[in-house]
Symmetry: D3
Subunit: 253 residues, 6 copies
Amino acid sequence: MSVHVRVITPIISTGLVQASDFEGILDPDDTLDFTELDEGPASVESGYDAALAVPDTIAKIRAAEAEGVDAVVIDCMGDPGLVPGRECVKIPVLGPCQMAMSIASTLGHRYSVLSISRATHASFLRRAREYGVADKYASTRSIDIRVANLRAQSDLRRERLLVAAKAAIEEDGADTLIIGCTQMFGAARQLEQDLAAEGLDIPVIDPVPLTVKLAKTFVEIGLSHSKYAFATPARLRAEERPAPPLTAVGSNG
Amino acid sequence: MSVHVRVITPIISTGLVQASDFEGILDPDDTLDFTELDEGPASVESGYDAALAVPDTIAKIRAAEAEGVDAVVIDCMGDPGLVPGRECVKIPVLGPCQMAMSIASTLGHRYSVLSISRATHASFLRRAREYGVADKYASTRSIDIRVANLRAQSDLRRERLLVAAKAAIEEDGADTLIIGCTQMFGAARQLEQDLAAEGLDIPVIDPVPLTVKLAKTFVEIGLSHSKYAFATPARLRAEERPAPPLTAVGSNG
Amino acid sequence: MSVHVRVITPIISTGLVQASDFEGILDPDDTLDFTELDEGPASVESGYDAALAVPDTIAKIRAAEAEGVDAVVIDCMGDPGLVPGRECVKIPVLGPCQMAMSIASTLGHRYSVLSISRATHASFLRRAREYGVADKYASTRSIDIRVANLRAQSDLRRERLLVAAKAAIEEDGADTLIIGCTQMFGAARQLEQDLAAEGLDIPVIDPVPLTVKLAKTFVEIGLSHSKYAFATPARLRAEERPAPPLTAVGSNG
Amino acid sequence: MSVHVRVITPIISTGLVQASDFEGILDPDDTLDFTELDEGPASVESGYDAALAVPDTIAKIRAAEAEGVDAVVIDCMGDPGLVPGRECVKIPVLGPCQMAMSIASTLGHRYSVLSISRATHASFLRRAREYGVADKYASTRSIDIRVANLRAQSDLRRERLLVAAKAAIEEDGADTLIIGCTQMFGAARQLEQDLAAEGLDIPVIDPVPLTVKLAKTFVEIGLSHSKYAFATPARLRAEERPAPPLTAVGSNG
Amino acid sequence: MSVHVRVITPIISTGLVQASDFEGILDPDDTLDFTELDEGPASVESGYDAALAVPDTIAKIRAAEAEGVDAVVIDCMGDPGLVPGRECVKIPVLGPCQMAMSIASTLGHRYSVLSISRATHASFLRRAREYGVADKYASTRSIDIRVANLRAQSDLRRERLLVAAKAAIEEDGADTLIIGCTQMFGAARQLEQDLAAEGLDIPVIDPVPLTVKLAKTFVEIGLSHSKYAFATPARLRAEERPAPPLTAVGSNG
Amino acid sequence: MSVHVRVITPIISTGLVQASDFEGILDPDDTLDFTELDEGPASVESGYDAALAVPDTIAKIRAAEAEGVDAVVIDCMGDPGLVPGRECVKIPVLGPCQMAMSIASTLGHRYSVLSISRATHASFLRRAREYGVADKYASTRSIDIRVANLRAQSDLRRERLLVAAKAAIEEDGADTLIIGCTQMFGAARQLEQDLAAEGLDIPVIDPVPLTVKLAKTFVEIGLSHSKYAFATPARLRAEERPAPPLTAVGSNG
C-alpha cells in the first residue's frame, strides 16, 4: 500500500525549508510532498506567529484532502491549525508536538522539551495539559538561538543542546527528550550521541520524521481523529449538503 | 478613575450584536465601546470559526492599545486570540471563558457550562485544562440551538437551558453554572430564577458582563497578564526598537 | 450603584491595622468599613491562630449581613472562616487567598506565593488544592519576618521579598506572584518595580485591594457563592423558619 | 506496651455518645477514654458546626498531651481541629475522615463516602483533595437522616445505606465504602452483610474504630505527624521558652 | 529497510492464536513472526494470569534480542512483562495497552476501553494512571464473554460491543474507543461500521496491528525506550561484563 | 484476639534476612512468622528481579491462606505480587510501599522515598501514581549502595541517608520520609535522630514494621482488600466450584 503524506510548513517560503529535508523518511513508492504558505509568518517563534499561520494552514489542509492526499503533517512544534484543521477534514491531521509528547510518554517516565527560547516554555506546558500528557511532562529547557540562525550556528546549537539536555536530566528528572523545534535537522541523533558519550542512554525524539511515519501508519491502519470529537463546522456541513426543499423552511430542527 | 474598556466581538458585523447590548455594565463616566471584525466568520460555533477570527482580533487588540484603550474583552466563549493577543500588548486582554471558569471555581465546588451544541463540549474541557481550573469542572451540557436562532427562539432556549441545568446539577454534580455562549443575553438571570423556583439556589454566570467588570478592576488596580509568561514576539520587539549600531553586527548574544 | 463592603480583620485590635489602610480602594460613594474581632488572636501566623479567629469571624459575617452590608472580605491570607461563613449568609464572602490564587491563574502559567515564614508553606499548597487551582501553583517562598515587625523592618522586607521573588521565578518557574500576607501594605507595587529594574516583567498581586474590588463587582453583578454548595446549616435554618404546626409532629421526612 | 488513646467527641454532651460506644476497640491493658466539649455545637452537620467545635477541641488536644495521653482521635468525619491541633502538640492527632480515606485508597481502586446529608457532599470532595487522596475518590452519597435521629431510625438508616451503597457501586464505580458519620454505630458490618447478600463483596470502613487502632499503632511504632509540616505556632513556642536575655534585644534574627 | 518484529503471545499454545492472525500487518519484505510461551497460563483474564505469564515472556524477549529481532510486541492488553522486559533489552518492547491508550489520547478528547469482563475494569484505570494518560481516560465497559468463547460467540460479541460502545459514548463521554482484548480479531472495523450506521463517527483502535506498526516505525526511526528509565538490572549487567581484576576486590564503588 | 501474620520475603534464602529481624513487632501472643521463596531472585533491585519473584510469592500467599494465616505482608518495597496475590485470596495482603506511602500522606504534606539506587526512582513515582497518592509525592533520592552491602556498609549508609534526606527536605520540599528498602533495619530511627540533631523534626517511616502492625489492625477490625476490585481469577473460581451438571453444557450465560 503506497501512501501520500503532505507536510505543511506553516510559514511563507524563505528558502529555509527544502523538499530535500524530508527525503528518505517514507518508502520510495510512497509520496511525501511539502508545501509552505501563501500567507503567514516567516517563522513561528511565538503564539502570535502561530495564530497568523493558522488560516492558510487550514486552507492547505482542506486543499490536501480535496486533492486526495492521505494524511497531513503540520511542520511546526506549535501544532498551529491542528484543532480547526481536524474539524474541516476526515483524513488524519497530525501535529509533531502532540505526537512527540505522546510517544515520549511511552518511552520513559518523564520527558523534557529542548526549545529555542524561554518564550516558548509556557506554551509547551500548556500543550502538555491540553493533550492530556502532562503527568509525564518534566520541563522545557531552551538554547536561546533564533530560528533563522539555527543552521548557521550549528556548533553553538549542539553545545547548548547538550547543556540544556543535561540540566533537564539532572535537575528536572527527565529520562526522555524531545527536540522542540522542527528546524533543528539532525540535532536529535547528534544529541543522543553526545549524551551517550557521557554515559547517558536517553532517547531523543526528532518530531517531524516520527510524525510523518505515524501519519503513514494511521493511513495504513485506517485510523483518523474522532470526528465525534472534532465535528465538522456547521457552516461547512451546510456547504456539503444540498439546500433543503422550500417546504421545510420554518420547521425547527 | 474612569476607565476605557473595549469589547471586541470576533465576528463580522451581522446586526446581531448591538452597542446597546453592553449598556449599563460600567459606570457613566467610564467608556465601554465595542467593535466587530472587518475580516472573519459570521459566528463562532467551532474551532474553525474561532481560528478564522483570530488574525483580525489580534489586529483589533493591537489597535486598541495604540489608541489608548485601557483593557480589552474578547466577546466570545472560545476566547479566540487570547494568547497571541496578550503577547502583542501590555494592557489587560481578558477572555470570558477563562474569567467565568476561574470565578466559578471560587463560588462553589463544581461548575458546568451550558453550551449551544454538543460540538463545543470537547473544547470547554480542553480549555478548563489549559486554564488550570479543571479540578472543579463538572461537565458541559448543550441546548442544540444555532447562534443565529438564539434570540428568535428564546422560549425554547429558556426551556432547554433549564433541562440542561438540572441535568448538570443532578447527574454531573454541578453547584455553579456558566452560560456557554456570549449571545444568550439575559439568560443567566432568567435561569437563576427558574432554578430557584425549583428550590435550587445556584449562581449562573453571564460571562461578558462579569469579564467587562473584571477588566475595569484590573485597570484600576494596575494588574495585567504576565509579560514574562506572554512574551512580546521577537518580530514585534524588533519593530519597537531602533536598529543596533553596525559595530554590534556579528557578535552573538 | 453604591456598594457597602466590610473588611473583617480576624484579629483583636492591636493598632496595627487602621481604617486608613483601606482608603481609596472603592469609589467615594461606596462604603468600605472594617472591623476587628472582640475575641481572637493578635495575629494570624499559624493554623492555630486561624482556628481561634474563626468563631468571632463568623459572628462578624452574620452581623454584617444582618446590618445590610452587601459583601464581606476576610482580611487574612488564611481565609479563616470562609467556608462556615459562607454557609451562614447569602451575601458574598470572599477570602483574599482564594481570590488571589484564582486571578493569578488567569494572568500567567505558574504563580508563587511570597509568605512571611516557612511554617505557612504547607498551608498555601493545601489551599491551592482545596480551591482547585493547584495546576498553576509553583511554590511558596518566605522572608522570615514576624507580622509584628513587617512595618518596622520595611527595608529588610523589601530586600527579602526581592530575593524570594527571584528564587520563585528562576528556580520554581513562577511568572506571577502573590503577596502572601495582608499586612504587607505597599509591598506589591514596590516589588513589581524592583523586579522590572532587573528586566523581569511580572505582575505581583496585593490580595486585599483586589479582593475588595471583586467583592464590589460580585455585588454589582448579582453574584454570590453557591448556596447549593455552601448550604445553610440545619440549626440556622430551623431558626429562620416558624415551627411546624403540631399536627406535623411525628411524621418523618 | 500499653497505650493511652483519647477520643475527643467535638460536641457538647448530649447523652448521644457513651463511653460504652468505644468499649472493646483496644486491648484490656490499654486505656481508651473519651471526652466531649465544654463549649461547642450539639452535633456537627455543617462546616459552621465544625468551626464552632474547633477552639475547645484544640484545648482538649493540648490538655491530653499535658496529661500524658499518648494519642488523640477526633471523633467526627469533619476532622475539626486536625490541622491546628497538630500544630499545638507532638503526640499523634488523627482524624477519622483522613485515615478512612487513606486506608480506603489501599483496599481498592475507587471509594465512596456514605453520608447523612447532601449538604456534606462538597466537604468530602474538598477533604479528599486536601488530603491528597482524590485520585481514588468516586463520590459521596447520602441518606438524608439528621444525626439526632440516626439511632432511633435504625431501620430506615439501614435501608437507605444499602440504596446509597448500590448507587455508589453501580453508578459511580466504587469498590470500597466509608461510613461518613461517626454516629452510625454498627452500620458498617451490617451494610457489608447486606451487600454480600446481593453478591457484592465490598469492604465498608467504620472510621472511628479503625482510627483508634491506627492511633495505637502510631504510638507503638513511634510515628507522629511531621512537626516540620505542622510547625508549633510562634506564640506557643514563645511560651515554651525562657525569655531571651536583655542584651539580645535590638538584634534582628 | 526491512524490519523483523516478533509478537510474543503470553500464553501457552492453545491453538487459539495462529500465525495467520498477523498476516498482512507488515510489508512483504518485513519479518513478522510470533511465539507463544512454554510456561504460563492458557489465557490472560486476570492479574494472576498476567503474573504467571511474565517470567517466560521476559525470557522470550531476551531471546528475541539475542536472535537479532528488531522489536517485540507483547500480544496482550495486560502488557505483561513490559517493564521488566524493557529493563533486560535495548530493542523496543511495546505493549498494546500502552500504545493504544497513548494513540487514543491523540485522536480525541476522551477514550474508553471495551473489555471482556468487569474484573478487568480496575486494571485499565490503574494502567492509564501508570502510563500517564489518565487525563483522557473515560471508562472501561465490558461484554462479559470469556476469552475462550470470543470466536465462537462472534454474533453475541458484536452485539454486546455495540451496546458497550454506545454506553461509553453517551454516558461516559467517550469519543474514541479501544478494543480491550487482543483476541477480538476484526472487531474494531465491524464496530466502527456499526457505530457509523447509527451516525456515530468514532475511531475504534485494534491494539495489536497498531502496535506492530508502531514497533516497525520505532525501529526505522531508531527509537527505543529510555534505558535511563528502564535501567539494565545489576545482576544482568554483571553477566555482560568481564569480572573485575582481583586487585579491585575490596574497593568500594 | 491473637493474630497470625506472615511476612513473605520475596527472595530465595541468602542468610541475609533472619527471623529475628521481625521479633518484637507484634505482641507475644500473636504469631509472626516469615518465609522466603523456593524459586526467585537473590535480591530485588529491579523490576526484572521483582517479576521473577512474583509467581512463587503468589504461591506463598495462597499457601498462607490455606494454612489459616490471618494476613500476609510482602517484605519488599517493590510490592511484588500485591495485585495478583490479592486476586487469589480473601485475607489481607499488604505491600510496604503502598502502606508507607498512604500513611506518609497522612503525616505531612509531601513525602520522599530514600532508596538504594537511582534505577528505582522511576518505579517509586510509577507506584505513587498507581496507588493514587501521587499528590503528596515529592521525590525519590538514593544512596547508591547494593542491597548485599547494606549491613556491612552501615556507616556509609547512615551518612548517605542523611545527605539524601536533607536534599529531599531542602530541595524537593519533603516533610516526611520513607525508607525505600526493607533491608535497612534500624535506619529509620537513626535517621530521625540525625535529622533532629540538625533541628529537622521529620518522621521517617520504616515500612515493614508499620505494615505488619497494619496487617494486624486489618485483621482485628475485619478489613481486607475489596474482592470486587481484586476479583478472584476465573480459573481459580472454577476450581472452587463443582462442575456444572452436563445438561447445562451448551447454554450460554
